[in-house]
């Protein structure tokens, strides 16, 4: 189907964008970033915004930079920017690996990192990264700027901490220690589909045992989250099958998975358990 009529705004500065958004948000005004989630939703007439504020013309939002020991990703940075590592080492390689799972190549040329966070699909790769690796998210409106922690940003399926007049201007990741190891795996029935579940693991080694372990699960519940009970099974243990299986079992015990017509909760639980173990094995190898 065709999207319903709307009024198009294309501001060239962040100030203009938030001023326009403040005006039109009460009339169902929305930000248009890559359009790779919003336009399909409009084509289905599930969304009929009366105004779209296109941010693609705002040059400063295209910034992707490492500064003050943080990776900073502007609102117009596309998924494709991560096709090649943006940083040396494990973290850059992780982002490249995750980007490769987002939809398809042409979709990654338009869709944006920050748009994925704003969309808050439970199966979003970038939402899992933001939650597991503690991103900090900067929102700006005509009322000012504020920073939101990754773990507090996603409030449910397609629901975030952003107010309707707020523009997500950038996402920052503090650079992980250089010896941090990462593993990421997801499962979907066909290449490019949204994942049925995914797991992101990271840890460092100190005197042969794991420290600072993180284990995040996405796609299984209404939002991605770290599983503290699983991380507790890892910290202080040597990397290997006993600790990885204990952590994976803790994932299975902790999750309250979503169900849909093709996928039972039990299936997703066992899938997440398996993916958690594989993500840990991949981080260790």
């Amino acid at each position: 189907m065709k999207p319903a009529a709307f009024q198009y705004h294309n501001p060239l500065t962040v100030e203009d964008a938030v001023a326009t958004l403040a005006e039109v948000a009460p009339d169902q005004g929305r930000i248009l970033a890559g359009g790779q989630s919003l336009v399909p939703t409009m084509a289905f007439r599930l969304a009929t915004p009366e105004h779209l504020v296109d941010i693609n013309g705002i040059e400063e939002l295209g910034r992707l930079a490492v500064e003050h020991d943080a990776l900073s990703i502007g609102a117009c940075v596309r998924h494709a920017a991560f096709h090649r590592p943006v940083l040396e080492g494990g973290f850059g390689a992780l982002l490249t690996r995750m980007a490769g799972h987002i939809g398809h190549y042409p979709i990654r040329q338009r869709g944006t990192f920050c748009g994925s966070l704003a969309q808050a699909d439970p199966s979003s790769e970038w939402c899992l990264a933001a939650v597991t690796l503690d991103a900090s998210i900067t929102a700006q409106s005509s009322r000012g700027r504020r920073t939101i922690a990754g773990a507090d940003f996603i409030e449910g399926i397609m629901s975030t901490a952003l107010d309707e007049d707020e523009l997500l201007v950038e996402t920052r990741f503090a650079l992980p220690a250089a010896d941090t190891r990462f593993g990421f795996v997801e499962f979907s029935r066909r290449a490019g589909d949204f994942a049925l579940a995914m797991a992101l693991a990271s840890f460092r080694l100190s005197d042969g045992v794991m420290i600072e372990a993180r284990l995040g699960i996405g796609g299984a519940e209404d939002r991605p989250r770290r599983i503290a009970q699983a991380e507790a099974e890892l910290n202080g243990q040597p990397p290997g099958t006993p600790a990885f299986e204990a952590a994976a079992a803790a994932v299975a015990a902790e999750l309250d998975p979503m169900e849909d017509a093709g996928t039972s909760a039990q299936y997703r639980r066992e899938l997440a358990q398996c993916l958690a173990r594989r993500a840990l094995e991949s981080a260790a190898s």
Binding site: K2, F6, N10, G35, V39, G103, I107
Partner: protein, 160 residues
Amino acid sequence: MTDKHDLTLTINGFDHAITVDARRTLADAIRDQCGQTGTHIGCEHGVCGSCTVLLDGVPVRSCLIFAVQCEGLAIRTVEGLAEGDELHPLQRSFIKHHALQCGFCTPGFLMLAVGILENEPNIADADLRELLSSNLCRCTGYANIVKAVRAAADELREGR
């Protein structure tokens, strides 16, 4: 409510001055306003890839972008591949390897493949298969499409 915009779309190097509603997708504008019907529309929600065109050199779904967003960008469609009567090497390769039956998906696959090969001329087999999974074909079973693109990639690389 109507929100009309006068704009110029540059398709295969030719300018088309048109007036569109903001809600008009690039795919519809290319076909209906600019008369370039080689670009096909299947699903209209980003899944099938039949509407793939190149925008400033990269393949995109033209059903997921509005025409008003495309002024000043270089748009390339299947009509721009051949030079006069001389088909593009990829088009010849599709014929040679039987990479199409009904042809509905073909313009999208051609533009996807041209975009991939121009950006990644040395692409490995596994990566090529992965990227070609972007688009759907209901006829061929894909094997011949992969074969045709692989052969054209090798030909283009040698010709360089």
